[in-house]
C-alpha cells in the first residue's frame, strides 16, 4: 500500500518538475530539441569540414546517436546532484522517504531524454534508416542509463548536503564525459587495450550499443550489454546504500 502511495508521490514530483520547467520557458519543449540539433550542427561542421573523418557516413546522425545519451547524462546528473538541496524546505518539514527526490529528478529529466530520442528516431527515418528487430533492445539499453543515473544521483545528492562542492565535481564530470563518450569518433578507433576499460562507462556503452543498432543495424555484443547492466544495477544498489547511510542527519545539515 505504501508502495502505491510512493509511486503516486513520485509521479506528482515528476509532474511538478516538468510543469515548473516549462511554465518558465516561453519556448517550452522546443529547447529539448534545439539543444541537440545545435550541438549536432556544430560537431558536423567541425568534423566534416575541419577534421574530416572519412570513415563515418552520415556524420550528423552518427553524432546524434551519442549526443542524446550524453545530453541526458549532463542534464540528469546536474539536476540529480542538487535535488535534495532544491527540496530542502520539504526535507526539513515533511517526513517522507527522502530517496524520492533524487529519483523524481532523474525521472523528470528522462522526459527530456524521451523527447530527444523521438527526435533522433524521426531524423533516422527521414534519412532512410530502416527499423530492424534489434530496435527491441533499445528500451532496455536506454533504461539502463536511467538506472545508472538514479544510482549516481542518490549518491551525489546525499553527499552534496555534506559537501556543497559535489555539484561542481558533477558539473565537471559532464565535460569529461563529452570526451570519454564516443560522440565524434567511433568506438572502433579506440585502441584495443583501452576498449574494455572504456566500456565500463555506462554512458559510453549506451552510446556504442545504440549506434550499432541504429546506424549499423547490428546486434551489440552480449558482453557489452551484460557489462552495461551489471555496472548500472551495481551503481543503483550502491546509491541506495550510501543514501541510507547518510540520510539520518540530512535535516541537521540543511
Amino acid at each position: 500500500m505504501w508502495d502505491n502511495n510512493l509511486i503516486f508521490l513520485l509521479q506528482n514530483l515528476v509532474l511538478k518538475d516538468f510543469r515548473i520547467r516549462y511554465r518558465n520557458m516561453s519556448l517550452g519543449v522546443t529547447w529539448s530539441v534545439a539543444n541537440p540539433l545545435l550541438m549536432m550542427g556544430i560537431l558536423t561542421f567541425v568534423f566534416t569540414r575541419i577534421f574530416a573523418n572519412p570513415t563515418v557516413k552520415h556524420f550528423a546522425l552518427f553524432a546524434l546517436c551519442a549526443l542524446v545519451p550524453f545530453n541526458f547524462y549532463s542534464l540528469a546528473s546536474n539536476a540529480g546532484s542538487t535535488s535534495l538541496l532544491d527540496n530542502q524546505t520539504l526535507i526539513k518539514r515533511v517526513q517522507c522517504p527522502r530517496a524520492v527526490f533524487p529519483i523524481a529528478s532523474v525521472l523528470s529529466s528522462s522526459l527530456h531524454f524521451l523527447i530527444q530520442i523521438a527526435l533522433l528516431i524521426f531524423l533516422l527515418l527521414v534519412f532512410g534508416h530502416k527499423v530492424n528487430r534489434y530496435w527491441l533492445l533499445l528500451p532496455p539499453i536506454w533504461g539502463m542509463e536511467v538506472v545508472f543515473l538514479c544510482g549516481m544521483s542518490l549518491m551525489t545528492a546525499a553527499l552534496d548536503i555534506y559537501y556543497r562542492d559535489v555539484r561542481y565535481l558533477v558539473e565537471a564530470s559532464g565535460l569529461v564525459m563529452f570526451w570519454m563518450v564516443p560522440v565524434f569518433y567511433s568506438a572502433a578507433m579506440i585502441p584495443k587495450r583501452y576498449q574494455e576499460f572504456y566500456m565500463l562507462n555506462p554512458i559510453a556503452a549506451v552510446a556504442v550499443a545504440g549506434r550499432q543498432v541504429l546506424m549499423d543495424a547490428t546486434r551489440p555484443s552480449a558482453s557489452l550489454l551484460v557489462q552495461l547492466s551489471v555496472v548500472s544495477i551495481a551503481v543503483l544498489a550502491l546509491g541506495f546504500m550510501v543514501f541510507r547511510w547518510l540520510e539520518r542527519d540530512f535535516a541537521d545539515y540543511l
Binding site: F8, K16, I20, T89, L90, R93, R164, A251, Y253
Partner: protein
C-alpha cells in the same frame, strides 16, 4: 502554587503526581508518543559545508562546536490527549517537533511514535508558487502520504473546506498568505492523521478562518486523535490543549495540566 523544577527527571515526577491526583492512570498500550531522556545538539555552521571548511577544521584540529537544543527531555503522550509545548524562542520547541515527526534523529535517548501523523508546520512547506492551487493540493496530499484514490476522493471536500474554490486553478503566487494557509490547513486535516502537529501557524488566517480551524482541530480531538501544538502565545492553546510542557533552554521546566503550567509560565520572571 506553581512548582518549578529545572531537570527533566523532576518534571516527570510532577507529571506522575498529577496523573495520580486527577486522571485515571492511562493504559501504557495507548501511549502514542514517548520521549525517554532525549537530547539533541546541532553542529554549529553545519550548513557551511564546503570541503574547504572541513579541511581547515581537520588541519587545525578545531573542536567541533555543538549547540545543545534539547537536554534530557522525557514525556509521554497518550492517545486522545492534547499537548501544548510552550517556551520562548530558542527553547527547543521546534526541535522537539522535528524529533517527534521523525524529521531528525536524537543524539541519545529514545523517541517512540505510534500512528500516522500530519504536521501543520511552516505555512505550506512544499507548495510551489508556479503551480496552481489544485496542483499544489494534490502534491501536498501525496507528500503527507495520502493515496491516489483517497486524494481524489477528498479533493472536493478539501477545496470546500479551504473556501477558495474560485482561485483553485490560479498559480499559488497570486494567493495571499491567508489563502495559502487555508489550503495547507485543509489538506493537513483531511489526511485524517492519528496525530496532528500544529506549529505556530494558526496566527496567520483571519478571525473567521481561525475559528474554523480551531473547530476542526476540536472535532479531530473529539474523534480521539492526539494533538501536539507549539506556540509562545497562549490564547488558542488554553482552548485546545489539556496538557502542557514548558521548555526552557532545551530542558523541561515544567510539565502538567494546561492551566497549571500556563499560569506559572505567564508569571515567570521577565528579563529586565
Amino acid at each position: 502554587m506553581a512548582i518549578q523544577h529545572s531537570t527533566g527527571e523532576a518534571a516527570i515526577e510532577v507529571d506522575n503526581r498529577e496523573r495520580e491526583n486527577g486522571r485515571a492512570t492511562p493504559n501504557p498500550a495507548d501511549c502514542v508518543i514517548s520521549f525517554t531522556g532525549v537530547s539533541k545538539s546541532y553542529i554549529r555552521n553545519a550548513s557551511r559545508s564546503l570541503l574547504r571548511h572541513r579541511l581547515t577544521a581537520w588541519i587545525t584540529r578545531a573542536p567541533i562546536e555543538r549547540f545543545s537544543a534539547l537536554r534530557d527531555v522525557s514525556f509521554e503522550l497518550y492517545s486522545g490527549e492534547s499537548l501544548a509545548v510552550i517556551g520562548l524562542n530558542g527553547a527547543g520547541k521546534s526541535t522537539l517537533l522535528r524529533l517527534a515527526t521523525g524529521i531528525s534523529a536524537p543524539d541519545c535517548g529514545q523517541v517512540k511514535v505510534r500512528g500516522t501523523m500530519a504536521a501543520l508546520m511552516e505555512l505550506g512547506a512544499g507548495f510551489h508558487p508556479d503551480l496552481t492551487g489544485a496542483e499544489n493540493l494534490v502534491l501536498n496530499a501525496s507528500l503527507l502520504g495520502l493515496s491516489r484514490s483517497k486524494t481524489y476522493e477528498e479533493f472536493d471536500s478539501i477545496v470546500e473546506f479551504s473556501g477558495i474554490r474560485q482561485f483553485i486553478d490560479e498559480p499559488l503566487r497570486t494567493y495571499s498568505s491567508g489563502m495559502v494557509l487555508r489550503l495547507a490547513f485543509a489538506v493537513a486535516v483531511r489526511v485524517n492523521p492519528d496525530i496532528l502537529f500544529v506549529d505556530e501557524v494558526l496566527s496567520v488566517g483571519d478571525q473567521g478562518f481561525q475559528a474554523k480551524c480551531v473547530d476542526e482541530i476540536k472535532r479531530l480531538k473529539n474523534q480521539g486523535k492526539t494533538l501536539v501544538c507549539v506556540s509562545h502565545s497562549s490564547g488558542i492553546l488554553r482552548d485546545l490543549c489539556d496538557r502542557a510542557l514548558w521548555l526552557e533552554h532545551g530542558e523541561v521546566k515544567m510539565s502538567g495540566s494546561m492551566s497549571e503550567v500556563l499560569d506559572s509560565y505567564e508569571r515567570r520572571p521577565q528579563p529586565a
